[in-house]
């Protein structure tokens, strides 16, 4: 028992040393990376156009439009349906 306890302690110390070693190497790699490739603020967003390409906020508008349409179109309880998926092709 004592032997395995000692073995477990040895293993544990060794493992923690390895973990810290690996992660310290990783920290310095990341720091190097962040230094080499600094963050560049993106240019201010251009005014919104209605283009063929869909952005995140276009999606928002789609959903709003669908919402409005459903409200107008359905003269009935909308709890009978749900919008599962809207995908662009």
């Amino acid at each position: 028992m004592e032997a395995s306890f000692l073995a477990a302690v040895k293993i544990s110390i060794l493992a923690i040393v390895v973990i810290f070693t690996v992660l310290v190497i990783l920290i310095f790699t990341i720091k190097l990376l962040v230094k080499l490739i600094p963050y560049v603020a993106p240019p201010p967003a251009p005014p919104r156009h209605q283009t063929a390409s869909s952005t995140s906020s276009d999606q928002d508008e789609h959903v709003a439009a669908i919402t409005a349409t459903l409200a107008i179109h359905l003269g009935k309880s909308p709890n009978e349906f749900r919008i599962v998926n809207i995908s662009q092709s």
């Binding site: 493992a15 923690i16 973990i19 310290v24 990341i30 490739i37 963050y39």
Partner: protein, 413 residues
């Protein structure tokens, strides 16, 4: 074929599960119901514990052929994906697709908190050895302290498959209990002043760094600890799908339906390993106690290292983010936020705690890699197993064929 009424009726009666229902099965069905109850009404990691509990229920219906050891059974089929270590890496692919490593990149030293929380793994390992487990078993139990379900399942199925069920259940249960386990320890180990520390806003990170990061982690960590490549590599691939911006289709599938499908199969397989034989043992109790120890010490380890970082930075780091180093993403980070805002309601630690939180995932994976390097080279866990044992879980048709060949060979002696 003769069918007498009484014979057929007897047959139906003798093949009911009731006819063979032992006390162990009944207890395990109750355990299954408890897990399902905790999952639904107490919201204990329901995505995992609900199907695990249901798998346990099915596995313990006598003669249902749904235990992980019932060759040819449905859940045995799913269990192959655990045994051959296919499902946990696929879960990690989805986890990577769901994870934002941005906060970690903005403050990379928080990786040390993810390392410090692994102390829980090793104290538990030592405790497990003292309680009589061998080194392989103790390692698999210790990794519960890593607070990462797939990592625990991966290591357990590799080093101590007979303990898979209690380890997986303990890991997910304590993960769900993080909001109860951590706060008292956090209040005990930190001062009011420390908890009030406000941290500077995180620097923004270039998208290029976010893209390069998963590749770098894979090269650095997997080269040092190759055994963890299936887990860590898939985690990083999922993250690369997310950050690259050119694989939206794959990213969406990995983080939704693929991870969901794999979760169903994995959880049912884990549940199917919760048979009375494997679960109703003293070892299970020990593992439950050790698991609690693992989580508590991991929390403490993170906090203590947080205090060290606090001192070293002249009070710029709030030690409360250290407890998030156990992983259990994102609950542990939310706990840091909550305890911090109790001390000062204008203190927002969430984003700062996300750094050590995701670092904890990498930390546990690295810890798993160390175990695999040390113990993972055992090709057959039962070195003297007879053919019958090796072939135990093989497809019945093949098994039959092999047996027949073996018979012929034996006769030829």
């Amino acid at each position: 074929m003769e069918f007498s009424f009484s014979a057929s009726a007897t047959k139906i009666l003798t093949t009911t599960g009731f006819s063979q229902l032992a006390i162990g099965d009944t207890l395990m069905i109750l355990v299954a119901c408890l897990l399902i109850y905790l999952a639904i009404w107490k919201k204990f990691e329901p995505l995992l514990l609900l199907p695990i509990g249901f798998g346990c229920l099915l596995a313990n219906i006598p003669m249902s052929m749904m235990a992980n050891t019932d060759a040819g059974g449905l859940l045995n089929f799913f269990y192959q994906g655990v045994k051959h270590e296919v499902l946990p890496p696929l879960i990690f692919l989805g986890v990577g697709a769901l994870t934002d490593f941005g906060p970690l990149l903005a403050n990379p030293t928080t990786l040390l908190l993810g390392a410090a929380a692994q102390v829980g793994v090793y104290i538990t390992l030592i405790g497990a050895v003292l309680l009589g487990f061998n080194m392989h078993e103790a390692s698999a139990i210790g990794i519960i302290g890593g607070a990462d379900g797939p990592t625990s399942i991966f290591i357990a199925s590799k080093l101590a498959p007979h303990l898979l069920a209690p380890i997986a259940v303990a890991a997910y249960s304590y993960m769900a209990l993080v909001p109860l386990i951590q706060p008292p320890i956090m209040r005990l180990l930190t001062t009011e002043d420390e908890r009030k520390i406000k941290m500077e806003q995180l620097q923004p990170i270039s998208q290029t760094v976010k893209i390069v990061f998963p590749v770098v982690v894979t090269i650095v960590c997997c080269l040092m600890l190759p055994g963890v490549t299936p887990l860590l590599g898939m985690l990083m691939l999922g993250n690369l799908f997310r950050e690259s911006g050119v694989t939206a289709r794959l990213h969406e599938t990995a983080e939704t339906h693929l991870i969901n499908i794999v979760t169903i199969l994995l959880a049912l397989a884990v549940g199917s390993s919760m048979t009375a034989d494997s679960f109703l043992r003293l070892e299970t109790l020990k593992i439950i106690v050790l698991g609690l120890l693992a989580f508590s010490i991991a929390t403490a380890g993170g906090l203590v290292f947080g205090k060290i970082m606090c001192k070293a930075t002249g009070g710029k780091v709030n030690p409360l983010i250290g407890s998030a180093g156990v992983s259990a993403v994102p609950m542990a980070a939310r706990v840091s936020q909550k305890v911090g805002s109790e001390a000062d309601s204008s203190n927002f630690l969430l984003m700062h705690a996300m750094g050590p939180n995701v670092a904890g995932v990498i930390g546990s994976a690295v810890a798993a890699g160390v175990f695999i390097s040390l113990f993972g080279d055992v090709p057959a866990p039962e070195p003297h197993a007879a053919i019958a044992d090796i072939v135990g879980t093989v497809e019945p048709g093949i098994r039959a064929a092999i047996s027949q060949v073996a018979d012929i060979a034996a006769k030829a002696h």
